[in-house]
């Protein structure tokens, strides 16, 4: 009884917070736009069977007819991938340094990583406008030390979007890698060095593979939200920054087309879920093979 209850909890959680909302969005994606409350048809008011019989995949077909959508998906994938790699490159050394720091410093360092969360995400992204703008701190500093003589245009470009994403999601990369490195048994590296590995080689052959799970978790935590990111590209990006989050916003708010917006969201979810499921399957197979 108790056991059944314990098993049920995560399923209830999944059902209430994921499957039901997804079913609602999926249903709307099969509906048609209408000027009414709510702005689509059919609804439950028409009766369940009439409603189900009127649903179709028209909106999904529409998405294939305009190159805007797949270009936006591709461009989002590109931005999310590049930012994930950049975040990893910045985050790994930081996590490594934290894990190698003297024991008594670690809580403080960990605190410093978490500290930015105490300020609203929106305000932190907004602050970058002040740093990156033509009259901003970055340009004033570079002009002052004489590296450049005309201000760099960073704000309203994709570069600013990368900076924003890397900055915002850095803690999500650092924390899982840190926790993997923290558990790493130092004697393994000593053993590798005793057996003739250089420090660099020991790092590649021992440290990296053993922190693999942290790296994977960190990459997922950065990549998934970055793919659907809306706030950062709309505040820091330029008009040429094409991202699916912005397209989704336009469909929902400018076109008032909830059905097409829902179809865009359903496909976004598939883009995320399919690779993750495939990846997990692969991991499981490997784990079983190793056994």
């Amino acid at each position: 009884m108790k056991r059944a209850f314990l098993i049920a909890v995560p399923y209830v959680w999944l059902l209430a917070l994921f499957l039901i909302p997804f079913a609602v969005v999926f249903k709307i994606s099969l509906s048609d736009i209408e000027l009414a409350i709510p702005p689509y048809t059919p609804t439950m008011k028409d009766g369940l069977w009439t409603m189900l019989s009127q649903l179709d995949f028209e909106n999904f077909i529409f998405l294939t007819q305009d190159d805007l959508y797949w270009k936006a998906y591709l461009s989002s994938l590109q931005i999310a991938l590049i930012s994930t790699v950049l975040t990893l490159m910045v985050g790994y050394p930081m996590a490594y340094a934290m894990a190698r720091a003297p024991e008594q410093w670690r809580p403080t360092l960990l605190m410093l990583v978490i500290l930015p969360f105490w300020t609203s995400f929106l305000i932190r992204v907004y602050a970058w406008i002040g740093i990156l703008s033509n009259e901003g701190f970055l340009n004033q500093f570079l002009l002052w030390i004489g590296i450049i003589d005309t201000p760099l245009t960073v704000l309203n470009t994709n570069t600013a979007v990368y900076i924003g994403i890397v900055y915002t999601y850095l803690p999500f990369m650092i924390l899982p890698i840190y926790s993997a490195l923290d558990r790493l048994d130092g004697s393994l590296i000593e053993a590798a060095e005793d057996l003739g590995c250089s420090r660099l080689k020991a790092f590649w052959l021992v440290t990296i593979p053993l922190s693999k799970n942290g790296i994977i978790a960190g990459c997922f935590l950065v990549f998934i939200p970055a793919l659907g990111e809306f706030v950062i590209p709309s505040l820091l990006g330029g008009s040429g920054t094409l991202m699916i989050g912005k397209v989704l916003f336009e469909e929902f708010f400018s076109n008032r087309d909830w059905p097409v917006a829902s179809a865009v969201a359903v496909i976004l979810l598939l883009i995320l879920i399919v690779p993750i499921v495939l990846f997990q399957r692969n991991e499981q197979k490997q784990a079983e093979a190793e056994k």
């Binding site: 009414a36 409350i37 709510p38 008009s239 094409l242």
Partner: protein, 360 residues
């Protein structure tokens, strides 16, 4: 005052479906003299829960989802028109609105184009879309005697190329920019014909590379700080930038001009949602706002023109005497209004706008 308002909003959210004697008003941000809110509560004994939004789209999404719980909302004209046909609003009860006699017939004639007989709405404020310019900087880049009120300033690629380093912002709103572009080439700005609308694309695409940013509110700060030269935006916002620059004494001089070719005129209309929980109190609020002195207080505070004729004697000279706020006869004649696009046309327009901005 702010603190009190926040707590009333929070209380309101907690109370949910309370039956208290209250009215819930949802208005644009920074859009009222807050003393009026206390005055209303004192005069009527009704609890006023005042909440704000910053875009028509956000309001519309709430209205179309239904059950917002608000009693009075303030959509702009084309949004109101579409929402009326979606069945979002209820007809006003004229017997509960004795102050309606104060309204200005010139404005009512205009607003009846999208709300026939003004059956569903009362005008709150109105204004124009036009050009804000940093006088000295434009002179520096384009030479003296450049007309600051002509669409040629922002739609002629030659001008825009010279201005690009100085900085130009456009509204990120196809429903404002496309009519302006049509006006520039002598087409009907209110056209809903896709072929006519398509003519706006090359005009906008031709100058888009020189536009520093398409955004619907950042230009207020950017103009006031002297970061940009020119912005195509809403009258009240640009006037706000002008006043901020003057207060900061930073040497930036901003002027606002309605477009000499004819500006788009917009109206924010007070209306009562069909499912409003407190209909009587909503009428009491509308009637309170239509009082000449109350409406004048609101305009004197936000620097927008209102549709209340009786309020004009209480307006300060800075408001009633400023042709950028209350345009004189000839300019007023030239102002035009725009109807909402049907869903299909709206999709074409949004798509065109994405193409203009991103090239895709």
């Amino acid at each position: 005052m702010k603190k009190m308002m926040l707590s009333t909003v929070a209380l309101g959210a907690l109370a949910g479906a309370a039956i208290a004697d209250e009215v819930r008003v949802y208005n644009w941000s920074d859009y009222i003299d807050e003393d009026l809110l206390t005055k209303f509560e004192e005069e009527t004994g009704i609890d006023l829960i005042y909440d704000v939004y910053d875009s028509n789209e956000v309001l519309e999404t709430k209205m179309l989802a239904g059950g917002s719980g608000y009693d009075v909302v303030v959509p702009s004209n084309d949004f109101l028109q579409r929402q009326i046909s979606a069945g979002v609003y209820q007809k006003l009860d004229a017997s509960k609105l004795p102050n309606k006699v104060n309204m200005w017939d010139t404005i009512e004639a205009r607003t009846s184009a999208f709300d026939p007989d003004n059956a569903y709405s009362i005008n709150y404020m109105w204004g124009t879309t036009g050009i804000g310019a940093n006088v000295l900087k434009v002179e520096e880049f384009l030479g003296p005697d450049t007309p600051l009120d002509s669409l040629d300033l922002i739609f002629n690629p030659e001008n825009m190329e010279k201005l690009q380093d100085c900085g130009v912002h456009f509204l990120d709103a196809p429903t404002e920019m496309i009519p302006a572009a049509l006006q520039y080439i002598g087409q009907d700005p209110n056209s809903q014909d896709p072929d006519v609308l398509a003519m706006a694309e090359p005009i906008l695409a031709g100058v888009a590379p020189y536009v520093q940013k398409f955004h619907s509110s950042e230009y207020i700060n950017a103009l006031a700080n002297g970061d940009i030269c020119v912005a195509f935006g809403f009258s009240g916002d640009i006037l706000q930038a002008r006043d901020r620059a003057a207060e900061a004494e930073n040497g930036v001089e901003i002027v606002y001009n309605p477009v000499s070719e004819g500006s788009l005129m917009w109206f924010d209309q007070m209306a009562i949602p069909a499912d409003a929980p407190n209909v009587d109190n909503a009428h009491a609020f509308l009637n309170f706002m239509m009082d000449a002195q109350n409406m004048a207080a609101a305009s004197n505070y936000v620097y927008y023109a209102n549709g209340n004729l009786a309020s004009q004697e209480f307006l300060v000279e800075d408001v009633i005497g400023d042709p950028a706020i209350y345009p004189n006869g000839a300019t007023l004649e030239k102002l035009y209004t725009k109807s909402p696009y049907p869903a299909k046309v709206q999709r074409t327009v949004t798509r065109m706008w994405t193409k203009i901005k991103s090239g895709t």
